[in-house]
Symmetry: C2
Subunit: 223 residues, 2 copies
DNA sequence: CAAATATGATAGTAATACTATTATATTTGC
DNA sequence: GCAAATATAATAGTATTACTATCATATTTG
């Protein structure tokens, strides 16, 4: 049987022309992800990307307003994908505890490639999210962009997990804080383990990040 | 009686010429902080700073290698200052629980101005740390810079708080994870409450960030 | 097959993040 | 008090960035 092929819904506010609608668009996204990973966000340019895909800087600008807009697009794609995995993994689960644990697992574990989306390498995209995503919203333009809905997929994921939290403990006062602390925290811990190990307690192959946050949730929500 | 006047020790690797050693150096730091806060890190330039302080771009480059190096300098100053406050606040405290609670308070509360350091506005510097500090280490150069000790003051603060954690619960496996999760988390929550409130549960004047992380520590370390 | 649309090539712009050089203050050591 | 040393300022220059604008050439579609 064939694997399920799904499209992640993206918001048309995030681009001039939908990159999924053409071969060039897909190449922009596919190799854009590669290049941000290789060069880092700062050194990545549309000019370099144009060269890599044997296309032209000006053509890329017809899809995305700016490098920043491209990053926002990737972010939204990522969180929509996570949302899809979250919903898929928790539907038909009865126990709120199980749903929450599944969610925490998904948000803190290392990402593997998902063959359902041919032109996006989720494994690399996850690395980009860990390293670069804070640059997307730590800008002077956040408030306006937030109004335009640029961060809504991330907020939606947080809200879904919040709902699980409140199912487990309806009197807990800080569900959003807890969930965003875990998501951002897990990303930081992964980054620290690779680059600033004195700030974490990770050991190879031990999944300490997942363990730590799972235990944390249990401890915090214990009534 | 006069207030205590202290100098925060800074590492000479962080600059070409110590900015505290001259009037110009102090103006660079003082107004540099102001301008990063006003313009954001991306739009801040040494040229604009030169204009503001009626000095010259080239003169600023004689103090700091680059804008990035300037940010790293500010980060280190900030964490040295926090370390000083941490040590000052916890000396002579007997109970490990009290020391840890004091530390969490210090790391999660809103910063007020500290008149002990005339040319640095800690209130604004704290805002810069919250918004810009992740840009300092999320770069391709982290590993080399880490080797040179560019992040050691931050690591030292984390280690000090870790020591309190282990005093409270010597068998706890993830003290560094816990402490860095709290520090980064508190910064994120503050930023979210100002710009992406759907990701947090802050209400004006309620100190929810402090409460949340204090309770979290208690829950997590409960034996 | 013409018209519409997508892509490519080229050029241009203001700004950035510097480096290099030279000139002018200011400090210091004798 | 003055020369030498040092700090600062002024100016110019460079490669690159993050775009915009224009025009030419493919490709698709009705």
């Amino acid at each position: 049987m064939n694997e399920l092929q799904i499209n992640i819904a993206t918001d048309s506010k995030l681009y001039f022309k939908d990159p999924e609608s053409s071969d060039l668009g897909k190449r922009i996204v596919e190799h854009g992800i590669e290049m941000i990973h290789e060069l880092g966000y700062e050194s990545f340019t549309f000019k370099k990307l144009g060269d890599r895909i044997h296309s032209n800087e000006s053509s890329i600008y017809r899809y995305f307003e700016s490098k920043h807009a491209f990053l926002i697009y990737l972010l939204n794609w990522y969180w929509s994908w996570i949302e899809y995995k979250l919903v898929f993994a928790t539907t038909n689960m009865e126990s709120a505890e199980d749903k929450l644990e599944t969610a925490i697992q998904l948000l803190t574990e290392e990402v593997k490639e998902d063959t359902s989306f041919t032109f996006i390498n989720e494994f690399i995209l996850n690395k980009i999210i860990i390293i670069e995503s804070s640059k997307a919203y730590h800008t002077k333009g956040v408030d306006k962009e937030n109004e335009k809905g640029f961060y809504k997929t991330y907020k939606r994921v947080v809200q879904r997990v919040c709902d699980f939290v409140l199912e487990v403990n309806p009197t807990f006062d800080y569900p959003h804080m807890l969930v965003s602390t875990i998501i951002e925290g897990a990303h930081h811990q992964k980054y620290f383990s690779d680059h600033l190990p004195a700030l974490t307690d990770c050991e190879d192959g031990k999944n300490n990040i997942v363990k730590f946050y799972k235990q944390l949730v249990k401890d915090v929500l214990r009534k």
